[in-house]
């Protein structure tokens, strides 16, 4: 027998009363760490139409974070900018194709990713459950801040119009887009695909696939830690961030998504605070979330909201 319609699903995620206070405290700690930005031109990856730079900045706990920064050479300034957020397993790409559309683009490699793993490297699988019993040392506490600090980098650049910053990504990148749009009001448009890190405890009951399966694996050998795990995850669940989002946002999901169940996508979307929100559910699609057809919608969304043609 199939599952009930995913849009009818009621999430089991609970928002802790001190959720906002927890994150305000984390951001206050992060603010004590200067960005210490380094920008290195990358001749190998640059092309006739796009300058590519390797970027490094400091984040929470003084962890050094790497990123790729791409800027179109065509002379239009100031530029709108897009923060690109990576998937769980994938390596952050060099987003030259978005630069060619008229955006400054930053692709962040949060801690543990290749180029950002000298100080913190829990591995895959492993990242999702690293210190999962303690919200103050859980892997994603720093990981989220690493991603959000990409906004600070973009705002530091003379060529970027700080009033036109967007964020996008799919899977973990979709979840990070939700959290970034929630915590950084400088983000004025967001496009999240197949959001991971949303509805953790729903997902581990609905499906038995990795990466969420890492949590089930952990609980299988640490059943006594279930309550602590559930408590920690409440502070990191995208569903609990979503009510803070006030910018225009689009979300795409696959109705047969076997990695991030569509139930969690709907629960996240329904919690979004912005009235300017639109859901694109793709029937017949899994974790790709209809990417092939949806790409043009994302392009048009940012063209409308960030106006790259304005220069």
């Amino acid at each position: 027998m199939g599952r009930p319609a995913p849009h009818r699903y009621v999430s089991k995620v609970v928002r802790p009363p001190d959720f906002d206070a927890f994150w305000e405290d984390v951001l206050a700690q992060a603010a004590l760490v200067p960005l210490n930005i380094k920008v290195v031109p990358d001749k190998l990856r640059s092309s006739d139409d796009v300058d590519v730079y390797q970027v490094f900045y400091d984040s929470l706990d003084h962890v050094r974070v790497a990123a790729w920064y791409c800027v179109p050479k065509d002379g239009r300034r100031p530029l709108p900018a897009i923060l690109h957020l990576p998937g769980y397993q994938s390596d952050p790409p060099v987003s030259k194709e978005w630069a060619r559309l008229g955006y400054a683009t930053l692709t962040v490699a949060p801690r543990g990713k290749v180029r950002s793993n000298k100080q913190f490297n829990p591995g895959y699988p492993g990242l999702l459950t690293y210190s999962i019993v303690d919200r103050n040392t859980y892997s994603y506490r720093g990981f989220y801040v690493d991603a959000w600090r990409g906004v600070d980098f973009l705002m530091s650049r003379n060529e970027v119009d700080a009033r036109r910053i967007g964020a996008t990504g799919s899977s973990q990148g979709g979840g990070l887009t939700i959290t970034a749009a929630a915590m950084r009001p400088e983000i004025v448009a967001a496009a999240a695909g197949a959001p991971y890190l949303c509805g953790f405890i729903d997902a581990i009951a609905l499906e038995g696939t990795y990466p969420y399966q890492e949590i089930n694996d952990y609980l299988n050998i640490h059943p006594e830690s279930r309550e602590q795990v559930v408590t920690t995850l409440r502070y990191f669940d995208g569903i609990n961030f979503a009510s803070r989002i006030q910018c225009p946002i689009i979300v795409n999901i696959g109705l047969q998504d076997n990695v991030c169940p569509p139930e969690t996508g709907y629960a996240t979307f329904n919690a979004i605070g912005s009235p300017d929100r639109k859901m694109y559910p793709y029937d017949g699609h899994g974790h790709d979330a209809g990417r092939r057809d949806h790409a043009a919608i994302v392009e048009e969304f940012f063209r409308t909201n960030l106006e790259p043609q304005q220069g």
Partner: protein, 303 residues
């Protein structure tokens, strides 16, 4: 039009014979250790250490079902990315109850990143100006070593050993002759030098990046890549093959892949991608079950 034999590099056979000879003279010296956190009542996961050419020490992951062996086996060939896990993201963990599964972190990938840590982008052009230094000479050897190891396990049914992946899956199947089934998504080595200028997508874009900076190395790069083209390995592949390519008119459609499809010695089924991880995944799981004699595939619960 040149015949296939005429397009193949002259030293193709001797090049790969030398790689296989080096591999044969390199003891694999396996170390096997249970990984309790990924072990369930239906399957046990082991971390495996193996030595490949170089010598280079590799990490691999072997899952063995609970029950009476032998089991059909699925080998997930290394793809293009830093992360290698015991089963692919999105595959149901419960499939480990039926199939022995194996994956290897080739040199440079996470788990096998010492002494060489690959960068992405970067791996595709590492040492590319000579076929003798090209990183994929080693990665192919690593993949062959993994297949040899898997097929040597007494729990594995040698008559039901599938390799799943990209070009490297077919290449290793051709070089080892061990897999009975190959499920392959062609690329990026298929006609790599010819296709690179038409794309902005990585990893092929790495070739464009590299040649922009090193234009004088074009001939050397093209020569190196020609040693990895799956077309030249196809005549040695006797396995039952399933290739997924583009729909008509898309890149790597049936027409573009015709030379490869016709060169494979074994029976070949070609499928057009539906650009849906659900539909393409469902089709793959059904094919595996059917080929290995099961009535039903093991699927994610939502499928």
């Amino acid at each position: 039009m040149e015949s296939q034999e005429e397009q193949r590099p002259d030293a193709f056979q001797s090049y790969w014979d030398a790689v296989l000879a080096e591999l044969e003279s390199t003891p694999s010296v396996p170390e096997v250790e249970k990984i309790p956190i990924r072990t369930t009542d239906f399957a046990t996961l082991y971390g495996v250490r193996l030595t490949s050419i170089g010598p280079y020490r590799l990490t691999a992951y072997l899952s063995i079902p609970t029950g009476e062996p032998p089991f059909p086996a699925l080998f997930f060939a290394p793809g293009y990315g830093s992360v290698v896990t015991h089963i692919p993201q999105g595959a149901p963990n419960s499939m480990r109850a039926r199939y022995a599964t194996f994956s290897v972190a080739a040199r440079g990938m996470r788990g096998s990143e010492k002494p060489f840590e690959a960068s992405f982008p970067g791996l595709f052009t590492e040492g590319i100006d000579s076929a003798d230094t090209y990183i994929f000479r080693g990665i192919v050897a690593d993949t062959c070593r993994a297949i040899e190891y898997l097929s040597s396990r007494s729990e594995v049914d040698p008559s039901r050993l599938a390799v799943i992946g990209g070009d490297v899956a077919l290449i290793a199947a051709g070089l080892t002759g061990k897999p009975t089934h190959v499920a392959m998504d062609p690329g990026p080595f298929f006609e790599a030098a010819e296709r690179a200028p038409a794309t902005q997508a990585y990893p092929l874009q790495e070739i464009n990046d590299y040649l922009r900076l090193h234009p004088r190395k074009r001939t050397a790069v093209e020569r190196t890549l020609s040693y990895l083209d799956p077309r030249w390995f196809a005549p040695a592949v006797k396995a039952e093959c399933r290739l997924t390519g583009g729909a008509e008119g898309e890149p790597l459609d049936r027409r573009a892949l015709l030379q490869l499809l016709e060169a494979i010695e074994g029976n070949v089924t070609f499928l057009e991608t539906e650009h849906s991880s659900y539909k393409d995944g469902l089709s793959l799981h059904r094919w595996i079950a059917e080929q290995f004699g099961f009535d039903e595939p093991i699927l994610p619960s939502i499928w």
